[in-house]
């Protein structure tokens, strides 16, 4: 693994607290993921790719913005790997970089009218920007 990939992998593992080596590759996390169809990389692939040090690919993928943080994979993984935490870690590693906020106040779509609860806006800004 080259140096940068090594550094990124270590960071992802450290801030997520996930140990990908516990994964037995059963696929249950992806089977239970409600946004499986929309995500280019599925939860079990996050685990495998982080283990292989392919974090940059994950950081560039739209999948990190499509995870619902629903914790279905976290709750249901029989090995306690908790893949959703890795997705969160990789997304934060991406948006914490300079100029890499994924969304700002100006990116709130037009359909978001007065029916949108504060909680939704607050949640989106917390997940998609520093």
């Amino acid at each position: 693994m080259e140096n940068n990939a090594k550094f990124l992998t270590e960071t992802a593992l450290r801030i997520s607290g996930v140990n990908p080596r516990k994964c037995m590759k059963c696929g249950k996390c992806s089977g239970t993921c409600p946004n499986y169809d929309a995500m280019e990389y599925h939860p079990h692939q996050f685990v495998a790719m982080v283990e292989k040090g392919q974090i940059e690919k994950l950081m560039q993928s739209k999948s990190i913005y499509l995870c619902l943080s629903c914790m279905a994979c976290v709750e249901r993984c029989p090995r306690g790997v908790e893949p959703g935490k890795l997705v969160e870690a990789v997304r934060l590693m991406q948006i914490r970089q300079q100029d890499k906020n994924h969304k700002g106040a100006r990116d709130i779509p037009e359909f978001a009218d007065e029916s949108v609860p504060q909680q939704l806006l607050m949640a989106a800004m917390r997940k998609y920007r520093k």
């Binding site: 450290r14 801030i15 997520s16 607290g17 409600p34 946004n35 169809d37 929309a38 913005y65 499509l66 995870c67 619902l68 943080s69 629903c70 914790m71 279905a72 976290v74 709750e75 959703g84 935490k85 969160e88 870690a89 934060l92 969304k103 709130i108 779509p109 359909f111 978001a112 029916s115 949108v116 609860p117 504060q118 909680q119 939704l120 806006l121 607050m122 949640a123 989106a124 917390r126 997940k127 998609y128």
Partner: protein, 260 residues
């Protein structure tokens, strides 16, 4: 029964009914909800990584302000963030040390505040049997589905709210107010959450799937404790629609204290 109460930002605005009906119902049940002074937004979502300290501080301030008593929440998201932060304070030394440094000037926090959802108060402190006795307007014949969503249940180990895979608390609540609970498979799955702003299609997909499942099982209406679930279930339903209410609205109705 006297509790500290953390309403949260959305209950002061878009989800007013969740708050107003809760207060009226609490009064009818002899429960005093004392709103915390100067509370701040809980942060809306819990950061799932260990090095996010600052984003959990407003939650710690709420815990600190409740001074070791029971802190009642109504909104699934506030409940989730506050309960997990309370857990972290006691379980994660790194978080506790760093958060305590930030809070040093405001006085300390001893980790004693217990966060409870109002549904837990109804189940564990009032008791559903007692609640049933106080109902003056039983919602007889109404077939109601509980939409739990994710945040109130998961992770089960930390939230300890109910069995995350086969919850019964809201169904038991529905029974206590005289209606008929209808269980359906997608009641504890995600509504689409904040991804509604990023990809409306994926929120629509989650909602349609849940509503289909609820209708197939015979629900005529749904109840929730979460303003975000409420938004998605109402605004992002493309195939079928079901009426959705906050659980406190039906509680107030059953207790005969709902206005309008």
């Amino acid at each position: 029964m006297i509790y500290s109460y953390y309403p949260g930002c959305t209950l002061k605005d878009r989800a007013k009914q969740l708050d107003i009906c809760a207060r009226k119902s609490a009064e009818a049940l002899g429960i005093t909800l004392q709103e915390l002074p100067n509370w701040q937004c809980c942060g809306a979502v819990y950061p799932q990584v260990t090095d996010e300290i600052a984003s959990r501080l407003s939650a710690v301030r709420a815990l600190q302000s409740a001074e070791g008593g029971k802190l009642v929440t109504m909104c699934s998201a506030c409940h989730h963030v506050l309960k997990r932060t309370a857990y972290d304070w006691n379980a994660d030394e790194n978080f506790r040390t760093k958060a305590a440094n930030y809070l040093a000037e405001d006085g300390g926090y001893d980790g004693a505040t217990e966060v409870v959802h109002f549904l837990e108060v109804l189940r564990d402190e009032v008791g559903f049997d007692e609640l049933k006795k106080k109902v003056v307007n039983p919602l007889t014949g109404r077939k109601i589905g509980a939409f739990y969503g994710c945040m109130v249940l998961r992770p089960g180990k930390v939230l300890a709210f109910d069995d995350p895979e086969n919850p019964t608390i809201i169904e038991d609540f529905i029974k206590a107010i005289g209606a008929t609970p209808v269980k359906y498979p997608y009641r504890n799955e995600c509504c689409g959450a904040y991804v509604a702003l990023e990809d409306k299609g994926s929120a629509e997909h989650q909602v349609d799937r849940a509503l289909n499942s609820a209708m197939d099982a015979g629900c005529d209406e749904l109840i929730t404790a979460c303003p975000l679930c409420m938004y998605n279930l109402v605004e992002n339903a493309t195939a079928h629609k079901l009426p959705v209410k906050y659980f406190t609205e039906l509680l107030a109705e059953a207790l005969g204290v709902k206005e309008g």
